[in-house]
């Protein structure tokens, strides 16, 4: 393993920001790159990357990185935000993951984005551990943008339960995933069920899924569980279930659970009087793909997203 500083920037009084990359395998070979938190609250993602570095060190030590293959893991970009409890860039609160492809001569976060992208472009495969702006629990999945360059068959090789293809909206065009794909890297975002706390089970699943992918692409030698046969889902086909009023949210189901049509999935309680003011029922037979976790809910919030049942 070789540690590299892939991007650095001075700060007035803090230690220099130094984005570290850990390279495994043949020097200069750009086969697969794994990128961790761009946002300061993605603690689970940081943990997963640290565990990947740990696993790859062992694999490299045992001669399990295949000839002429090179892997880079960048465990954290925005650790400045992480150390002070901020999701975005500390000074101006901008989201680095909405600044890609960035600009060398642009503003601070555009320069960080450009610097990171210049270090990770030209890799054949790009894997990002990311988070979604809706706070809640997801079924672990691999997500990719429908840019025309996406390859859902490759995403299946992670062996995660689901592969989600998202039609990009204008808001998505400045994300790393979108721009990485436009740079002709086969880019995947891996989502586990947590962000700002660690869930060991899904972290292990995420580490195993990346190692499985690297093994199936002939980059490493690795013996592990073969994983799931992934279902490919188009995001627009998920059924959204909205809150009909605001209040305290009591969920009856978790992400990954199977539900039947009309099953009670949650309740909204009047925050002052304690009465149940709304019951939330399943709109289809299916699997809970996303579940709202915040105990408070606003009218119109999406509280569940359901995958219409795939098999009879």
């Amino acid at each position: 393993m070789v540690e590299e500083i892939i991007y650095s920037m001075e700060a007035p009084y803090r230690e220099k920001l130094q984005v570290r990359g850990y390279h495994f395998g043949k020097k200069g070979e750009k086969t697969a790159c794994i990128l961790g938190p761009i946002r300061g609250n993605e603690i689970q993602q940081l943990y997963i990357c640290s565990q990947l570095v740990h696993a790859l060190r062992e694999l490299e030590h045992n001669g399990c990185i295949n000839n002429n293959k090179g892997i880079m893991v960048i465990p954290c970009v925005n650790y400045y935000g992480m150390n002070i409890g901020k999701r975005f860039w500390p000074v101006d609160n901008t989201d680095i993951n909405r600044k890609f492809p960035g600009m060398d001569y642009g503003d601070t976060t555009e320069r960080i984005a450009a610097g990171v992208l210049s270090a990770i472009r030209d890799y054949s495969y790009g894997i990002q551990f990311a988070s979604f702006y809706m706070t809640g629990e997801f079924v672990p999945h691999v997500r990719m943008m429908e840019t025309g360059y996406q390859n859902a068959s490759l995403a299946n090789l992670f062996g995660m339960p689901y592969v989600v293809v998202r039609k990009p909206r204008p808001i998505d065009t400045k994300t790393l995933n979108y721009n990485w794909q436009n740079e002709m890297t086969a880019a995947f975002s891996v989502y586990t069920n947590k962000n700002d706390e660690i869930d060991e089970t899904s972290a292990r699943q995420a580490v195993a899924s990346v190692l499985r992918f690297l093994m199936r692409m002939g980059i490493i030698k690795y013996e592990g569980h073969s994983g799931y046969i992934s279902h490919v889902i188009y995001e627009e086909n998920l059924s959204n279930v909205d809150a009909s009023c605001g209040g305290i949210f009591r969920s009856r189901v978790k992400a990954g659970e199977e539900v039947r049509y009309n099953q009670l999935m949650g309740e909204i309680v009047d925050p002052f009087l304690g009465d149940v003011i709304s019951e939330i029922h399943a709109t289809t037979d299916g699997i809970v793909f996303f579940a709202h976790k915040d105990p408070l809910v606003n009218e119109g919030d999406i509280v569940f997203r359901l995958i219409h049942r795939l098999h009879a």
Partner: protein
């Protein structure tokens, strides 16, 4: 008449409402024009609050001069404005990157879609922004290259100092004005002043411009003051100055000043070593229309912009 455009019940004892003030002429004429004035998409940009107030005040003072509908939406992000935050609270999303919204999306997606629906049908929309809390801007209209040709003539009416045709599609994508322009509602974005401040002179200047615009499109028949000739430019006419070092910026000039090539705009210093890290000098002569107010800078931070080259027509 104050109308609620869209309302969603929040979790605890409160309803989020987007409201507008509708001002209408006395006599009914089904074919009258309509202008929408919006502000407060970013909760820390308060310059538009004064503009909204002045427009309503002046119309109410002389309702006899009103010949069309004026809809004033002072706070499209009321939770942000009321809590002094730029973004949508809790979601921490930039509302001006969520348009045109989505009827089946999150609460804020639905809300954005409803706002677009409500403004649709206006003959024109003016979205009044302030700068952020970092740099101060002279009053300017920013229009995209994509829709610019149709908007330049309207922009000239707004009494701004500058009209900037910006080629970067990314700067306009998912904004309210871009989404309105895409559905055929001419929409102009005004940028001026500083975040968390009201600069009354700038507000008066743009208010006069909005009355001038209303006059030109037949909505206002009252008197309008003298309108300045805005300088039109594209990206290449603007010199950007960004910090190449990290430290504290000390300006040597005032925003709005004329500069000559070589003039010292300011310097970046280290307060630990006592060194001057960087001197920022004008590259070309022109008008300093953007100047940093927030002293702390990281590499890349915007320090200043100078309008160095004008363009006469499209």
């Amino acid at each position: 008449m104050i109308e609620t455009v869209v309302a969603y019940q929040l979790a605890v004892g409160e309803t989020l409402k987007i409201q507008k003030k509708r001002l209408m002429p006395g006599a009914g004429n089904p074919n009258i024009g309509r202008i929408s004035i919006v502000s407060g998409i970013h909760g820390d940009e308060l310059e538009g609050q004064y503009v909204c107030y002045e427009i309503i005040r002046r119309i109410q003072e002389h309702p006899e001069n009103l010949n069309g509908i004026v809809d004033v939406y002072p706070a499209l992000n009321p939770l942000g404005v009321d809590s002094g935050g730029r973004m949508i609270p809790k979601l921490n999303m930039d509302m001006n990157r969520m348009f045109p919204g989505e009827a089946t999306g999150t609460m804020m997606d639905k809300l954005a879609a409803r706002i677009i629906e409500d403004i649709k049908g206006s003959d024109i929309c003016v979205d009044v922004h302030a700068s952020d809390t970092f740099v101060k801007e002279m009053p300017q209209v920013r229009i995209s290259e994509e829709h610019g040709k149709d908007l330049v003539d309207f922009s000239r009416l707004l009494n701004a100092d500058l009209i900037w045709i910006n080629a970067s599609a990314a700067a306009h994508e998912a904004t309210l004005t871009n989404s309105l322009n895409a559905i055929g509602v001419p929409a102009l974005l005004v940028e001026m002043g500083l975040g968390n401040r009201v600069t009354r002179s700038f507000g008066d200047q743009i208010t006069e411009g909005i009355f001038n615009l209303m006059h030109e499109i037949g909505i206002w028949s009252g008197p309008v003051g003298e309108i300045r000739n805005a300088k039109l430019t594209r990206d290449y006419g603007i010199d950007f100055f960004r910090a190449q070092s990290t430290g504290i910026f000390l300006p040597d000039m005032e925003n709005g000043q004329l500069v000559s090539a070589g003039d010292m705009i300011g310097k970046i210093i280290s307060t630990l070593s006592g060194d001057v890290l960087e001197i920022i000098q004008a590259k070309r002569s022109g008008i300093l229309f953007t100047l940093r107010e927030y002293p702390l800078v990281y590499e890349g931070a915007l320090i200043a912009r100078v309008l160095a080259e004008e363009r006469n027509g499209w």
